[in-house]
Symmetry: C2
Subunit: 147 residues, 2 copies
């Protein structure tokens, strides 16, 4: 059934692509108020969990390449959200740590997860069903990232 396989409505990737974009858009008004983009917010989530990490660790945590993360971090440094300094043990590394401003953003953005979480909830996506959704998405991610 090649016909069916080509239909947009049967495509998993298109759904993921669209859902991801729309949900990122939902973050936009909440983040732009503080001059942040969604990928920059992800970097903050990583650093809020554990401050002072090399570029590589941040990139791996986000499943991104350093050639994506480096310019991102440079922009964030320019905005004063974080600092970058050469590693002491390994001079190749660039250690990224939160600035005072970056730490303060955590409190200012404390409402964001709740706001966005609420925006997503609907008949098909409930607090009860999200674990199953997470499980499936994690399966896809694990499957595709290990090759």
């Amino acid at each position: 059934m090649i016909e069916e396989a080509f239909k947009l409505d049967n495509q998993l990737c298109f759904r993921l692509y669209t859902a991801s974009r729309l949900l990122t858009q939902a973050y936009h008004p909440l983040l732009s108020e503080y001059g942040l983009t969604y990928p920059q917010y992800l970097v903050l989530l990583v650093l809020w969990e554990k401050d002072a990490q090399p570029v590589n660790d941040i990139a791996r945590r986000l499943f991104l390449e350093t050639n994506t993360v480096t310019p991102l971090l440079q922009r964030m440094e320019k905005e004063g959200v974080l600092n970058r300094r050469k590693g002491e043990n390994d001079a190749r590394q660039m250690i990224v740590s939160l600035s005072r401003k970056g730490k303060l953003l955590r409190k200012k953005l404390s409402g964001v997860p709740f706001s966005v979480g609420n925006a997503v909830l609907c008949d098909s996506v409930t607090p009860e069903s999200t674990p199953e959704l997470f499980r499936m998405l994690d399966g896809i991610i694990l499957n595709l990232s290990s090759r």
Copy 2:
């Protein structure tokens, strides 16, 4: 539990974002062989379903804005995959239709849905569970696109 809400592992959007990116990457080797990107492939899916559509209809079908789609179509036109002509009834419209090359690509890419579909399958994502996954993603999309 602000602490928990901020954890990357509790974020739906990050999962969607990552799964979408990784799955798009899985398409890459299959599409680049024919000089196509994933968004360009999506445009072809739309046109294979119904040829000769105005820019607006294509954009809406993909949940994209025309300022994203227009340059995409211009690149595809330059590659000879499709043609663009002024609308006859409404001169503002730009009618996009498949070229011979664009139509032929359908056969050449006939293995793509199957290849990618196989790459996704895992313990958590089976032919039996995908309808449920589709249902939840459709819920999110419907929910976020209608506002």
